[in-house]
């Protein structure tokens, strides 16, 4: 079970940082890894879980929660969700802090002009 959780964390953590421009970018890679590389489920089941996640409210890519749950139960669901949202969220938090610190003390218009975007380039 631990190895399954580690595999989930590694897979979704990697997808998190690859999801530039939104999470739909990594959907084909997710399908390839889950169905073809790890053989956790058949293509039909992946499609069904994706449809289920789309039908539910909330940000898309909750399919990661369902895949985690299918592979390793509730711990799997939590690990997959945290791994998909964690790394990119941490990066965003750090970038937004850098952006706010570079702004005026009042914080007024802190994110305007190019200062913010250039600070987040690193």
């Amino acid at each position: 079970v631990t190895s399954a959780l580690a595999a989930l964390a590694l897979l979704f953590g990697q997808l998190s940082l690859l999801a530039v421009g939104g999470v739909n970018t990594v959907l084909p890679e997710m399908q390839r890894q889950v169905v073809q590389v790890h053989r956790w489920m058949k293509p039909g089941e992946f499609a069904a879980l994706f449809a289920l996640a789309q039908a539910a409210p909330g940000p898309n890519m909750l399919v990661s929660t369902l895949i985690g749950w299918r592979v390793a139960g509730l711990p799997g669901a939590l690990v997959a969700t945290l791994s998909l949202y964690g790394p990119s969220s941490l990066l965003t938090f750090v970038a937004s802090r850098a952006c706010t610190h570079s702004a005026t003390p009042r914080g007024e218009g802190s994110c305007n002009t190019g200062s913010c975007r250039s600070r987040s380039d690193w």
């Binding site: 999470v23 390839r32 218009g109």
Partner: protein, 154 residues
Amino acid sequence: MLPWARRMLVEQRRWLTGPEFTDTLALCQFLPGPNVVNLSITVGARFQGAAGALAAIMGLLAAPVAIVIVLGVIYAHFGQLSAVQQGFAGLTAAASGLVLSMALRIAAPLWRTPVGVAVAAITFTSIAVLRLPLLLTMLVLAPMTILLSVLTRP
């Protein structure tokens, strides 16, 4: 979800001005991860630091994650019934149609530039036909397309 977030943040709560929202969203789209999640983290961090960011992401995700897990449990219990399976066939078709329509909408402006069409075709072949890893595809294509866009800049 983003238009709704804009209405709430800019018009109803007045936490951000219109231009602030646009700039914040630009940063969020540049960074990896779901845009609306990144947006909530940025706004949360701005007003209450780490605690605010954590509260924002928990507020955004907790209920949907709980709902989707409940749906998954229901699916596992009743997924074998033929009526449920037929329903799912329809749901899957609808979800595929949604993804396809989004892909076409994104691809639409490309048709005017031959380079754009070529890059889209290479990416599609690599990912959908050859089923190569995304990381490899991105490492090869990203520098190539940046170079191409610099060279073909009018």
